[in-house]
C-alpha cells in the first residue's frame, strides 16, 4: 500500500533517472545506511565482525568487481583469486615500503596496481571469447599465485613466505595490525563498500556501463553500432580488477592480517566470488550484496546447526556443507537463473499491486 509511485511526482529528468524511483525504496535505503553507520558499530562484538560482517563487506566489493566484468560486460573470469592476491601483495609492499603513507591511499593504490595487471590479462579477451576466455583467465590465477610464492621480493624475503600487516592508524586509531577493535575495522570497510557501490551503480548506468552491456549482449553488433570493443573490454577488466584489488587489500590488511598466498587466494576464492554473483544475480549491484551475504552466512549457519546444534564432527559438517552449497547452486540455477536480485524484483512488482492485484 505504501510501496508505489503514485503521488510521487517527478518534475526533472534528474528525478526521473534516479536509482530508487519509489519513495519507500529511497527511505529504506537511507534507513539501511543509517543503521549500518550509526547503530551497528555500537552493538557489534568480535565474533560477529570477524565471522560475518567483515567477510560480507569485503566479498561484496569483490562481487561488485566481478559483476562488472562478468555480469555487465559478459567476460567470464576465473582469475579473481589471483587479482585479489595482487591487491593484497601490492598493499603489503606499499605499507612496508612507504610507512608514512596513509592506509587509505595504500588500499586505493593497490586497487590501481591491480587494475593495471587486470588490463594486461584482459588483453587476450579481444581475441578469445566465452569458455576459452574463462580458461585463459585461469592462466592469470595460477601464474600470479606462483609468482607471489616464488619471488621473495614480494614478501620482503621473510622466512615463512607469509606477509603480515604492520600496524597503521588513522587519527591515532589502529586500522590494521594487532590492536584493532571490531567497530573500527567494520566502519573502515563499510566506507569503502558504500563509496564503491555508489560509484559502480553510477558507472553501470552511464555511457561506459551501456557500452559494456552492448558488448555483453552481442559484441559484433555492438562494434557495428560504434562501441569500441577495445575500450569497453579493457575498461571493464581495469575497473573490475580495481574493485577486486581493493577487496584483496582489505582482506589481507584489515581482516586477516597475515596471508599465505596459496591458501587464501587459491582457485577456490575465484569460484567463491563467482558463486556469489551467480546466486546474487548477474548484472546487479544489489545482487552482489545479496550473493555475498548468502555465501558468507550459509557456512556460518550450517556450522552452527551441524556442529553446534547436532554435535557432528567438523569434517563431516564440512562435507555436508560442500554438498549443500553445490546442490543449492544447482537448485538456484534451475528455479531462478537470474539470482536473488530477480526474486527481489519479482517481490517488488508484487508489492506494488498488493493488496489489490486485479
Amino acid at each position: 500500500m505504501i510501496y508505489r509511485e503514485v503521488g510521487d511526482f517527478k518534475t526533472t529528468y534528474r528525478d526521473d533517472g534516479q536509482t530508487f524511483p519509489i519513495k519507500f525504496d529511497r527511505l529504506r535505503y537511507y534507513v539501511v545506511l543509517a543503521v549500518a553507520f550509526c547503530i551497528v558499530p555500537f552493538i557489534v562484538n568480535d565474533y560477529w565482525t570477524n565471522a560475518v560482517l567483515l567477510p560480507f563487506l569485503i566479498y561484496a566489493i569483490a562481487a561488485i568487481g566481478l559483476n562488472i566484468l562478468t555480469g555487465y560486460c559478459g567476460q567470464v573470469s576465473l582469475g579473481t583469486g589471483g587479482f585479489m592476491a595482487v591487491g593484497a601483495y601490492s598493499c603489503y609492499k606499499l605499507m612496508t615500503g612507504f610507512p608514512d603513507l596513509n592506509i587509505v591511499f595504500c588500499v586505493i593504490l593497490s586497487g590501481g596496481i591491480t587494475a593495471l595487471v587486470g588490463m594486461l590479462f584482459g588483453l587476450p579477451s579481444l581475441r578469445i571469447k566465452g569458455f576459452y576466455l574463462a580458461v585463459a583467465t585461469l592462466a592469470a590465477q595460477f601464474f600470479l599465485v606462483w609468482l607471489f610464492n616464488k619471488v621473495s621480493w614480494f614478501y620482503n624475503y621473510s622466512a615463512s613466505g607469509q606477509i603480515n600487516a604492520p600496524e597503521r592508524t588513522i587519527l591515532g586509531v589502529p586500522i590494521t595490525g594487532a590492536g584493532t577493535t571490531a567497530p573500527v575495522t567494520y566502519l573502515f570497510c563499510l566506507v569503502f563498500v558504500v563509496v564503491l557501490a555508489i560509484l559502480a551503480r553510477n558507472l553501470t548506468r552511464g555511457h561506459l556501463g551501456r557500452s559494456w552491456m552492448a558488448i555483453r549482449d552481442m559484441d559484433i553488433a555492438a562494434e557495428i553500432i560504434g562501441v569500441n570493443p577495445l575500450k569497453a573490454k579493457l575498461t571493464a577488466f581495469g575497473i573490475s580488477s580495481f574493485y577486486i584489488g581493493i577487496a584483496g587489500a582489505l582482506l589481507f590488511a584489515v581482516y586477516l592480517g597475515a596471508v599465505e598466498v596459496g591458501e587464501v587466494f587459491g582457485i577456490q576464492k575465484s569460484f567463491l566470488v563467482l558463486f556469489m554473483i551467480i546466486i546474487g544475480g548477474l548484472g546487479s549491484i544489489f545482487g552482489s550484496f545479496a550473493g555475498a551475504a548468502f555465501m558468507v552466512l550459509l557456512p556460518v549457519f550450517l556450522k552452527n546447526v551441524l556442529v553446534g546444534g547436532l554435535g557432528w564432527p567438523t569434517d563431516i559438517a564440512t562435507h555436508v556443507e560442500f554438498a549443500i552449497v553445490g546442490a543449492l547452486i544447482v537448485v538456484f540455477l534451475i528455479l531462478e537463473p537470474h539470482g536473488l536480485a530477480q526474486l527481489w524484483k519479482i517481490i517488488k512488482e508484487k508489492l506494488r499491486l498488493w493488496p489489490f492485484p486485479h
Partner: protein, 332 residues
C-alpha cells in the same frame, strides 16, 4: 650421446606419458561438450567419485558410515568382504550410469535452452555437490587403489635402452603404470571412435553434436542421448580416476586434474577428439620440457602449475578456436 641429452629424452618420454593422462581427462570433457554444448566442470570430480566408489566397493566399505556413526553413535565401517576387481569395476560403471540418469532427470532436463554459461555454472555446483557427497559416502581420507597393475620403473625398457649411453647410463626410467595408462587410453580412444562411426547410437550421437534441432526432428531422443553421453563420460572418468588413483592414491587432489585438462582442451579445441589427444601430448611434453630446460634452472621451479595455461593462452591469441576446433563463424 651426452648424459644431458639422454636425460632430456627421458623427460620427453615422461612428458608424453603425463600427456596421455591429461588427454584421458580431456576426452570426457570433449564428449559431453560435443553432444550437449555443456562444458562439464564436474568431470574431474566425477573421476574422483568413480575412483572412490571403486575402492569403496572393492574393500567393502559401508557407504555413509562416518555419518551413520556420528548420528547414531554406532561404530560400523566395513561389511567385511572384498569384492573381486572385475565385479567392483562393473558395479562402479553401474553407479556412474545411475549418476548419469540422475543428472539428466534432476538437472539437465530443467536447464534445456539456458545459456551455456548457466549450464557451466550448474556443473560447478554439481562438482561441489559430488565432492561433498563422495566424501560423505566413502570418507575423505587418502585411499590406496590397487587393481593389479604393477608399479615402478619398467625393467624391459631400461634394459633395452641402456646401450644408448655410456657405462653410467642404465636406460630410460618409465613407470610401468604410465605405459599401461597409455595403452588403455589408446584402446579407449579407438573404441570410442569405432563406436561413434559404426553403431546406430554412435551415429545418433554425432547427429546431436551437429545440430540439436535437426536431430530432434528426425526422431532422436535428446534425453536418451544425454544419458548415454554422460554415462560414457562417467566411464571415461572412471578410467582416468583409476589411472591417477593408482598412481598417487585416491584423494581430493584427483579432482584438480580437471583443471589440468582445461588448457589441453583450449589447445586442441573443445569439439575435437583428436584435438584432446594431441593437445594432451603437447601440454604434457611442453610442461615437462619447460620445467627441465627453463623452469628449474632459471625460474625457481614449479612452473608446471601455470605453464600449460600460458601456452594455451599464447596459442589462442593466434588461433582462437584451438588446434582442431571448428572455425568460429559469428553472425549478427
Amino acid at each position: 650421446m651426452s648424459a644431458d641429452f639422454l636425460f632430456g629424452v627421458e623427460v620427453f618420454l615422461n612428458g608424453l606419458m603425463a600427456g596421455v593422462m591429461y588427454a584421458l581427462v580431456a576426452l570426457g570433457f570433449v564428449l559431453i561438450f560435443k553432444s550437449s554444448g555443456i562444458f562439464n566442470y564436474a568431470q574431474g570430480v566425477m573421476a574422483l567419485f568413480a575412483a572412490q566408489t571403486l575402492v569403496g566397493i572393492q574393500t567393502g566399505l559401508i557407504p555413509f558410515s562416518h555419518m551413520i556413526n556420528a548420528v547414531l553413535g554406532t561404530k560400523v565401517h566395513h561389511f567385511g568382504w572384498n569384492v573381486p576387481t572385475v565385479v567392483a569395476i562393473l558395479l562402479t560403471v553401474g553407479v556412474m550410469i545411475l549418476f548419469a540418469i540422475i543428472v539428466e532427470k534432476l538437472i539437465l532436463k530443467h536447464l534445456v535452452n539456458q545459456e551455456p554459461i548457466i549450464l557451466f555454472m550448474a556443473t560447478i555446483g554439481l562438482a561441489y555437490f559430488l565432492e561433498g557427497f563422495g566424501d560423505l559416502m566413502w570418507g575423505a581420507e587418502i585411499k590406496k587403489l590397487d587393481i593389479g597393475i604393477p608399479q615402478g620403473g619398467n625393467i624391459w625398457v631400461e634394459e633395452n635402452t641402456a646401450f644408448l649411453g655410456g657405462d653410467d647410463f642404465f636406460g630410460f626410467y618409465l613407470d610401468t603404470l604410465d605405459i599401461y595408462a597409455a595403452v588403455i587410453a589408446a584402446l579407449l580412444v579407438t573404441s570410442l571412435v569405432l563406436f561413434s562411426q559404426y553403431t546406430k547410437t554412435g551415429r545418433a550421437l554425432r547427429a546431436v553434436a551437429d545440430d540439436h534441432q535437426a536431430a530432434l526432428s528426425v526422431g532422436i531422443s535428446l534425453r536418451t542421448i544425454w544419458v548415454i553421453v554422460w554415462s560414457i563420460a562417467g566411464f571415461v572418468a572412471l578410467v582416468a580416476g583409476v589411472m591417477w588413483g593408482a598412481k598417487s592414491g585416491v584423494q581430493f587432489s584427483l579432482s584438480l586434474i580437471a583443471l589440468k585438462a582445461l588448457p589441453v582442451l583450449m589447445l586442441g579445441g573443445f569439439t575435437s577428439i583428436p584435438g584432446a589427444i594431441v593437445g594432451g601430448l603437447i601440454i604434457g611434453v611442453g610442461e615437462k620440457m619447460f620445467e627441465f630446460l627453463i623452469g628449474a634452472p632459471y625460474l625457481g621451479g614449479a612452473t608446471e602449475n601455470w605453464f600449460a595455461y600460458m601456452l594455451a593462452l599464447l596459442f589462442l591469441i593466434f588461433r582462437p578456436q584451438g588446434l582442431f576446433g571448428e572455425k568460429i563463424i559469428e553472425r549478427v
